[in-house]
Structure formats: structure tokens, C-alpha cells
Symmetry: C2
Subunit: 159 residues, 2 copies
């Protein structure tokens, strides 16, 4: 069970865009060079964040990406869900009904699988913790020097 590295990239991009402010559009190439990742591949994840209404994109010469909402409104769960998809990591395939289970009376399966419930409880705790944190919290926790560096990185590339 490995999470896509796109989640890490997406979160860092959101933090960088929050640092730069709301009115500056940053193209993929600039973000990719800031983290030294493949630009075309990063673009794939930025598109996913646009579809989830986390980022807003603008085309054209001075186009690029910016945050679609205020940082306080973007939770970590939003970003993770946008990139990893909404499905839970554990998926119950109801193997209890197969094999020995085919002889059971249907009423036995009236209540959902206890294993799925237990795993779902852990998944809910995970999502709850992710939903409790926003990009604004990341901004507050990060050292201020990072924001300054990101502005210095962006400035010479803007026109």
C-alpha cells in the first residue's frame, strides 16, 4: 500500500501557491523546477487538483495555476482525495459469502461484514485527521524563510 508521490507534490504545490498569494498564476514549469520534478508528470496531478476545484487554471502567456479558494478552505483530505481518488484503501470483496458462505441463510448477511466495519473505522479516523488540517495550517507551521525563498524563485520567472 503505497500512496502516489503525486500527493506529496500536490501538497507542496498548494503550500507554494499559498505562499505566493492569490493573484499570481504560476505555470507548471516553474512549479516543477522549484521542486525538481518532471514538469509533464506534475501537470497530470495539477489537472486533478483543478478538477477537484482546489486549483484554478488559466491559459495563455501569463497563465498558470493559482489556488481556487482560500487556504483555510482547503483541507489535506481534499488534496489527497483529488489525487488518490475517493475510494477507501481497504475494499471488502465479501469473501464471507463465497466458499463456505454459500450455504448460509441470507439473514446472516443482513449486517455488514465485521471486518469491513473495523477497517472502515480506521479509515474514518485517518480521514478525520486529514480533514482537520488545512493548507493554512501548513503555512503557519512552515518556517517563514520558505515563503521568501519561493518568492525569490518565482520573481525572475514572471513577466
Amino acid at each position: 500500500m503505497k500512496m502516489s508521490e503525486g500527493v506529496e507534490w500536490g501538497l507542496h504545490c498548494c503550500l507554494a501557491l499559498a505562499w505566493l498569494g492569490d493573484d499570481t498564476a504560476v505555470p507548471t514549469a516553474t512549479l516543477a523546477s522549484a521542486f525538481d520534478v518532471p514538469p509533464h508528470y506534475l501537470n497530470k496531478f495539477l489537472q486533478a487538483l483543478v478538477r477537484a476545484d482546489i486549483l484554478a487554471s488559466s491559459a495563455g502567456v501569463k497563465g498558470g495555476f493559482r489556488l481556487a479558494k482560500r487556504p483555510e478552505k482547503i483541507t489535506l483530505l481534499d488534496v489527497v482525495t483529488a489525487i488518490e481518488g475517493p475510494e477507501a484503501s481497504f475494499r471488502c470483496t465479501e469473501i464471507r459469502r463465497r466458499g463456505a458462505g454459500v450455504t448460509a441463510r441470507p439473514s446472516e448477511f443482513a449486517m455488514p461484514c465485521g471486518i469491513a466495519i473495523a477497517m472502515g473505522r480506521a479509515d474514518a479516523a485517518w480521514r478525520r485527521e486529514l480533514a482537520a488540517q488545512t493548507v493554512a495550517d501548513l503555512v503557519k507551521a512552515a518556517p517563514p524563510a520558505g515563503a521568501e525563498r519561493m518568492r525569490c524563485w518565482y520573481a525572475p520567472r514572471a513577466r
Copy 2:
């Protein structure tokens, strides 16, 4: 991010073995037929559970698998870790140090990456919830009819 289906299989096998009691060894083929899964593939995960000291295996004609400890001592986290591995789903690759980060003073990276901390907090909540539940809890939550069916499934295959 998809969890291996081996986790579901492993948990159902632990539950079945807890139902059958401590002194009956169940071979792979019987467990596989009980859930209608590929026997050789299931064996792979049962081996992982043995390595984690969750199951105990015995060779020979009347050999098979049984629980290595009491069900109260086996947490869901134990089973998940045995099959999925101990690593967290999110892995920080420190991209903050690359690209724009190479110009930063080393002191800026004295404290760990805030994004990794936030994701680690969610991962900790997930593990905490998994560690709080044991196989014995699954036994209590499951309908008693399941245990009876499993015994009926096992009995004609034992000698």
C-alpha cells in the same frame, strides 16, 4: 492507494481459526476453499502471518495453520503490518530541499517537513484505531452462525 486483498484474506483466516479453536490445524487448501480463493496465493499471505508470529504452522499429514497467540493478543494492526509491511503509506521524499530548496540555509531544514508531520499524524490515527481492535473483538462482533458454519466446513475435511 489500494491495500492488498491479502489483508482481507488474512483477517478472515484469523477469524476462522479463532472460531475453530486453538488446537485444530487447518491446511491452506481448506481455508482457501472456505473463501473460494486461489490456494497457492493464499499460502503466500499465511506465510507472512507466520513470520510475524501471528500464526503457527505445522508440517506433515495433519499439519496446517493455527493461531500462534490468543485472539485477544492479535490486533488488526499486527495483521495489516504483517502483510502490507511496516512502512507508512505516505513517504516524504524531501522535495523541499530540491530545486528552489538548494539555496536554503541548512538550519531551515532542522525541523522535519511540516507536510510529512501532518500526513504522519493521520497515519498515526489510523494505526491507533487498528491497534485498538483485536481478533477477539471480531469474534464477538460476528454472528454465532458463522462459527458454526466454519466448523461444519472444517469437520468433513479433517481426519
